[in-house]
């Protein structure tokens, strides 16, 4: 009985409100006292440090955008807290926007902040704002809904457009650690946050852009193609519209004895005849397949050329090859340089069916 009373008294110490005793318990904060932030933007502010912009809410309600400037991201976030009446909660941030200026100085501090902060998640999607700042992008998107909704829609449609794909902080950090290079999808600072290819990072710094066919090539190499539409010229001079519905890529290292001389990237592409007549004859079909294969190989070659030119293995070719040849792992992963390596791309296309009613 005495023990029970003692235990109850000890437990009551936790209810006294004295932090000395209640410090062992987690800190309670009511959800209605919070403002859920969903998009976080970080920009370079020169000597002043960084500008952090955050937005919350949904397109159905008024989007709240707050902004703060300080020498470090943590300090800027703390400054944000003082602006609103509610507690700004960053546990629901799903999108991280990084301005181009900041990316050119280095993205590692921003990604590291996400890694270390107790509220932020490594699954947060990261984007670069090409030709502008994250603040501009968030403000522009807020005029027409919210940046979060727009970026979520962009991520959902990425495989359809085949020139963008969502990347998380975890992906980018892991790749920078593993192969010293990575790539991040880019958006323009307009009100629609239009996809603008990929920014290529090397040692945490933005070194170039993969845009147009190179961006499409990146998606092909990663197999993120669900509905890319390609127009090719048929042998009879007409234009055939093909829909690329799948891609599977393999990376093979090329050896000269024990010396790595390059990589051969081969992509198997599945396509359907999207518009036009019923399934053509065998010869026309073969011609269409060869034409599409040339187009897709060219796209991949442009993406690979960027890797060679920037000397950045942002596509993870060495790791992909090491998976296939684990007994050559030491040579393949000994360095991350792409200098002097021959990078070849080839594609093999199979047109499965036509969307025409007659097959």
């Amino acid at each position: 009985m005495k023990r029970t009373v003692l235990l109850v008294l000890l437990l009551m110490l936790l209810l006294t409100g004295c932090r000395r005793y209640s410090g062992v318990l987690p800190y309670a904060r009511e959800i209605e006292d919070m403002e859920l932030m969903r998009t976080l933007g970080v920009d370079d502010a020169g000597e002043a440090g960084v500008v952090v912009t955050a937005s919350g809410g949904t397109s159905q309600e008024e989007t709240e955008v707050v902004s703060g400037q300080a020498g470090a991201i943590s300090a800027a976030v703390l400054e944000l807290q003082g602006e609103g009446s509610s507690y700004l909660y960053f546990g629901h941030v799903t999108q991280l926007l990084l301005g181009e200026g900041l990316a050119k100085r280095g993205v590692i501090p921003s990604l590291d902040y996400v890694l270390r902060d107790v509220e932020m998640r490594l699954e947060t999607a990261v984007y670069l704002v090409r030709g502008g700042t994250a603040e501009q992008a968030i403000e522009a998107a807020a005029d027409d809904g919210s940046a979060t909704d727009r970026l979520e829609a962009l991520a959902a449609d990425a495989a359809l457009t085949a020139n963008s794909m969502p990347r998380t902080v975890k992906d980018v950090l892991a790749e920078l650690d593993r192969q010293s290079a990575s790539f991040v999808p880019a958006v323009l600072a307009d009100d629609g946050l239009t996809a603008a290819g990929y920014g290529i990072l090397k040692d945490g710094v933005l070194v170039g852009w993969a845009e147009g066919d190179a961006a499409l090539g990146v998606n092909l190499i990663f197999g993120k193609v669900d509905a890319d539409v390609v127009e090719v010229e048929a042998p009879d001079g007409t234009t055939a519209v093909l829909r690329v519905v799948g891609a599977a890529t393999s990376v093979r290292p090329v050896w000269d004895g024990d010396t790595l001389t390059g990589f051969r990237v081969h992509c198997k592409v599945d396509a359907n005849l999207a518009e036009g007549s019923a399934m053509p004859d065998e010869a026309t079909l073969t011609a269409l397949e060869e034409e599409l294969a040339r187009t897709e190989a060219d796209r991949m070659a442009q993406a690979l050329e960027l890797s060679r030119a920037l000397d950045a293995d942002y596509l993870g070719l060495r790791h992909s090859a090491a998976f296939r040849k684990p007994w050559r792992k030491e040579v393949l992963l000994g360095t991350s340089s792409m200098e002097g390596l021959t990078l070849e791309a080839s594609a093999q296309v199979v047109i499965q069916r036509s969307y025409h009613a007659d097959g």
């Binding site: 318990l25 987690p26 309670a28 009511e30 209605e32 949904t58 629901h92």
Partner: protein, 505 residues
């Protein structure tokens, strides 16, 4: 004036055995039943001979008058052979041998036995100068007719539920279990009520040690009377400090008999229309009697659903508090935004809201149970719908909390056992309090304590978490989560240690 010892502490005193010592005399019986208006004595002449008289003693209302008249008085008055008996002893012997038509006639020489016979509806014939009497069973058999169970719905199955009459109940069991190996032991429990309690089991199947254990528990009961089920339940289960039921009850005779055939021990109590089965583990309370009548796939899905509901009723309010107050990152963003919108302008903290609504839910439930059925339904409707929706509209509680508490409450109603449901309600409060103090950490600690508690209790030697926590031998096919087709369940539960494990070819 009542005398109380110093300090107000009373001390146990042993039961007096025999309760009424001494010889059997009419004067002694009249003294014992003094001031009893139903005590009746009548002196009758045997064969119309005033020299041969017999005193008939009974308690009015406890005996059936027609039987006394037809089976006792008529032959005594009309049988010439009885009138010719030389003395009381030959007359008693002749009566026992068949001169009286009554089915049961016993010679008694203990006053204690005679007194309890009278109370039980026996009629006593006393012979002048003799200390031995004849006791004839002529009790009334007023009883409720056998009907369908009220609280355990039967869709497919027998509808002969237990009634208050013990002998009727044993006869129902005999009709279901025609095996001669069915054993029915009887004990009297209660100093004042002297209630008959029968212990049923099937010899050759039930573990004899288990039978002895239950019988010993019954023998140890020394109480005033058996007026409620708790009088037996709380005495025969080991004195565990747990709200969880350790003995299973049913009003369905088919379920009771299935338990006996499984190797469990049954208990029937006179005056209580329920049958008890021991031992009982957690899994037993999550199986509905209908499961065995349903398709095995359906029964499996429903059993899994019940386990899910058990976790829901236990954990949902605590998890809600933990997530809304401590771990907001666990809530999907759009749901979090909806909760924030719903909680705007509600003045109370989430934990307080949940606790108050849980208490209100319990109050409504209790009010509904205590009132007559028609008024009870009205109270539920007014309390649940009108007050609930008014409270939400007045921004006193948030709709999210109302939904959480209602879902938890309704999930609790899926428990086939009311006792288990009650235990879960108590633990739900404990978990809510822990969650209010320490969030998910508190909930997990509470859940761990609950598991440790459940793992520590036993029902007549069988661990309560069988078969989750202990092995059940090779190829266990018992119905726990998965109810296999009947032809595949070849063995009785190993945990019961039956003498014959195999139950079918």
């Amino acid at each position: 004036m009542a005398h109380y010892p110093p300090g107000g502490q009373t001390h146990p005193h042993p039961r007096q055995e025999p309760r009424y010592p001494g010889p059997i005399t009419l004067a002694r019986l009249e003294e014992i039943f003094r001031d009893c208006v139903d005590f009746v004595r009548r002196t009758v002449w045997v064969g119309e001979d005033p020299e041969r008289s017999v005193t008939l003693v009974y308690l009015s209302g406890m005996v059936r008058m027609e039987r006394v008249s037809d089976y006792l008085l008529r032959p005594m008055a009309q049988d010439p052979e009885l009138a010719r008996c030389a003395g009381a002893v030959p007359m008693m012997e002749r009566m026992r041998q068949g001169a009286l038509y009554n089915l049961t006639i016993e010679a008694r020489d203990s006053l204690d036995q005679v007194v309890f016979d009278l109370v039980a509806g026996w009629c006593v014939l006393m012979f002048p100068g003799e200390t031995t009497v004849l006791s004839c069973f002529t009790g009334t058999e007023e009883k409720r007719s056998i009907s369908a169970p009220d609280n355990e719905t039967v869709l497919k199955g027998s509808k002969d539920a237990f009634v208050e009459s013990l002998r009727t109940n044993t006869s129902i069991v005999r009709r279901h279990l025609k095996a001669p190996e069915l054993r029915i032991q009887e004990q009297i429990v209660g100093r004042q009520s002297a209630t008959l309690v029968d212990l049923l089991y099937i010899e050759g199947i039930t573990n004899p040690h288990l039978v002895e254990q239950v019988a010993a528990q019954l023998r140890d009961i020394d109480i005033d009377g058996v007026f409620s089920t708790g009088a037996i339940e709380e005495y025969i289960v080991p004195a565990e400090r747990t709200p969880f039921p350790l003995i299973q009850y049913t009003e369905r005779s088919d379920r009771f008999c299935a338990g006996l055939a499984q190797g469990r021990v049954g208990i029937l109590i006179d005056g209580i229309p329920l049958g008890y089965l021991a031992p009982a583990v957690l899994g037993n309370f999550l199986q509905a009697p209908q499961d065995k009548s349903s398709n095995w796939l359906l029964a499996t899905v429903l059993t899994v659903l019940r386990y899910f509901c058990m976790l829901t009723t236990l954990l949902l309010p605590a998890l809600y508090i933990a997530m809304v107050t401590f771990h907001q990152e666990m809530i999907p963003t759009r749901l979090a935004l909806s909760i924030i919108a719903a909680k705007q302008n509600v003045p109370f903290r989430s934990a307080f809201e949940v606790i108050v609504l849980l208490i209100a839910f319990e109050i409504l439930q209790e009010a509904g149970l205590r009132l007559p059925q028609s008024i009870g339904q009205t109270v539920s409707i007014i309390g649940g719908l009108v007050v609930g929706s008014a409270a939400v509209e007045a921004k006193i509680v948030s709709p999210a909390v109302l939904i959480v508490v209602a879902v938890a409450g309704i999930a609790g109603y899926t428990m086939p056992s009311q006792e288990l449901g009650g235990a879960l309600r108590i633990w739900r409060f404990v978990l809510v309090l822990l969650s209010s103090a320490a969030g998910l950490f508190g909930t997990v600690v509470g859940a761990a304590v609950l598991i440790v508690h459940l793992a520590g209790i036993e029902s007549f030697g069988v661990p309560y978490l069988t078969p989750f926590a202990v092995g059940t031998g090779r190829n266990p096919r018992e119905h726990v989560l998965l109810r296999r087709p009947m032809p595949q369940i070849k063995d009785r539960p190993a945990a019961l240690k039956p003498r014959n494990r195999r139950k079918q070819r």
